[in-house]
């Protein structure tokens, strides 16, 4: 500690250790928090087509089109340890060939400081709702849920499912016109 550099080294190292302890404290205060909130999902339009599928092993697969509304208030999730939320809408169903299918239809990144009241109407799906086969037609029970991945400043990244889901059914016949 006789020279400036030696004192500066000591000071800086001490500050970093204290910063690490503060970050751990930040993590501990929010580690056991329940990050689930109620979510409201409505489905306004449902259509299904049977199209050429170049990604799978068969010639034609079912392609679903869903238009939905989502509303949720994300404010309670944001605390001092949350940097952003990665929201995604999942459709979950079972078919004759697969017991469980989960398809992500839409996602959104909500940063800290963005508007936290989610009130989206008539949203089309962002990603193709392809089925592995032809199991969507006349499928009565497709469950749509909104989940999110909490990206923290310090700590683990939990995947939380919102409370509130919507069950929908696909129609019996395929749509042949070119509309959507």
């Amino acid at each position: 500690m006789n020279t400036v550099l030696s004192r500066a080294n000591s000071l800086f190292a001490f500050s970093l250790s204290v910063m690490a302890a503060l970050t751990f404290g930040c993590f501990i205060t929010t580690a056991f928090k329940d990050r689930s909130i109620p979510v409201d999902i409505h489905v306004s339009k449902v259509m299904i087509k049977n199209v050429d599928d170049f990604t799978g092993p068969r010639e034609r697969s079912d392609l679903g089109f869903v238009t939905f509304d989502i509303s949720a208030n994300l404010q309670p999730i944001f605390d001092w340890n949350v940097k952003e939320l990665f929201l995604y809408l999942t459709a979950e169903y079972s078919t004759k060939s697969n017991a469980l299918n989960q398809v992500v239809l839409w996602d959104k990144i909500v940063l800290r400081g963005d508007n936290t009241k989610l009130n989206l109407k008539d949203v089309k799906s962002k990603y193709y709702f392809f089925d592995d086969g032809n199991g969507l037609r006349a499928n009565k029970n497709i469950t749509l849920t909104l989940s999110w991945n909490v990206v923290p400043n310090a700590g683990i990244l939990p995947l939380v499912m919102g409370s509130g889901h919507k069950s929908m059914a696909f129609p019996e016949t395929y749509e042949t016109s070119k509309s959507y």
Binding site: T3, L11, S15, F78, W80
Partner: protein
Amino acid sequence: MLSAFKSIPTHMDYKGQKLAEQIFQGIILVSAVIGFIYGLFIQQFGWTVYIMLAGFTVSCFLTLPPWPMYRKNALKWQPAVPEASGENRDKPQEKKKKHK
């Protein structure tokens, strides 16, 4: 130019070093506690970091330059023994204080 920097005296005596260490540790710990509580209150971790950095800057200013308060207890060296051929030279006794 480097020789100009090296010629600036930056030493402190041992008690001064101990005082400097206590000062900066105290300031940084206090600013860490204040920052943590304030950040927890307004739910923004950025403010915790800012307050810590402010504490760091204040303690840099207070402890890095060799202020006179750190030079109050100068070491007492033994007077030099005149050299003669065949005579053992005494090593000057330093007051070594154990500091943290």
